[in-house]
Symmetry: C2
Subunit: 232 residues, 2 copies
Amino acid sequence: MSQSCPSPHCHHCGFSKNLLTYLSADEKLSLSLQKSMRSFSKGSTIVKQGEANNQLFFIRMGLVKILRQTNENRRPQIIGIASPRDMLGLINPVASDEYSYTVEAIEPSEICMVELEAVKNLLQTNGEFALRFIEMYSKVSEGILGMRLDLNQLQLRGRVAYVLCYFAQTIYYSNKFTLPISRREIADLIGMRVENVVRILSEMRLEKVISIEGSTIEILNRDKIRWYKLNG
Amino acid sequence: MSQSCPSPHCHHCGFSKNLLTYLSADEKLSLSLQKSMRSFSKGSTIVKQGEANNQLFFIRMGLVKILRQTNENRRPQIIGIASPRDMLGLINPVASDEYSYTVEAIEPSEICMVELEAVKNLLQTNGEFALRFIEMYSKVSEGILGMRLDLNQLQLRGRVAYVLCYFAQTIYYSNKFTLPISRREIADLIGMRVENVVRILSEMRLEKVISIEGSTIEILNRDKIRWYKLNG
DNA sequence: TACGGCCATTGATAATTATCAATAGATAAC
DNA sequence: GTTATCTATTGATAATTATCAATGGCCGTA
């Protein structure tokens, strides 16, 4: 499940593309010794809530879910989904000594793990890097919070529509896609119950807003689903 | 409503206490020319969602609410309350060119406003400052997101209890306090309706969990309200 | 192959929350 | 000081969501 980084410079990693540009050759070399690329199969855990926070990590490829468990009696709460564009790893606070969230691969994923100390060191010594890092951090936080706030003011139908649009627009860039998560996970993501998620999906299918074949969804009526997303 | 900073070094401002320590005398002097202290009366707007984001700001004294309006048909959504300890200003993303949220004083407040460019400059040139800044930013984001996620998994009774505990424990450090916001604002904060907030408050009063005299609340049964906050 | 476990689905019913309506009180504007 | 506006409150009812129950399908494993 784990393998070391094939090259000192992971050119395809979001971290590289967005932040490594601002490093000198020396800094890159030094950093390369403190990061590694690991592969995770679908369903495996990348980091676990409560464990020591000593690595930042970034999605090079794949898709993950971010979740937390606040109480044994409750369902786990899925906070969001992250893809390579999201510069994940920034969601777990830099200032905390343990991970606030669990992160699990929901598709086969390659994750770039970087020693937190190495990043902190760069933040202190490379101003341009620090500035870009903060800008990205702020964008990521803002994105997650925005989604939670959006979901908050919708009811069931709107929340389901929101999630479907999210996958279609932000993750798969297509009206037709295979859901990477179960109905139950959709429920945990939007804070509702599985049965009701299923019901709404069926309803939308009957209304011909979407088509469903197992976990493959196609959005048939974009205006209507957009309306639900805004007003549902 | 506005006045310039009485001293080049606002020693009591959270920004000062937490971040200015890491600046040299020169940097402090330079920064002092690019920040100002302003006073806001209860109800007045500090920054407005959608306006140009060119200043970070920090609460020196007082209490503010952070809100956003996503849709004319909807109630404004209150995202959170911030006090001097919260290093507000960090909630509005550094990377965005406009404010994502409106911030309004809910108690007379003194706000330290700092040119965003000046801060970005410091982030680039002072490593220690940059690191501390990120750590604070990450704590603030984490705090806000955590509260939203907590509220998310509670129902009405639990959410009201959560807010009351929040004021008692985090803002006023007392079981007895005067609510700085209206019932309607509590509703906008927890994503419920005024009528239901009022009903729950009345219910808690009848159960002798709290006492109510206008906007003065006293928590009488801490165990029970804590139970609501966790399980309600 | 058979079994257990989990997911997906649907129906019936209960619990929660929103909406509508009405009134009293407080506050600001004139 | 009167009027208009907003908040706070309560009740009645409607809409939304959760819970409980039952079924079939799928997958991994003994």
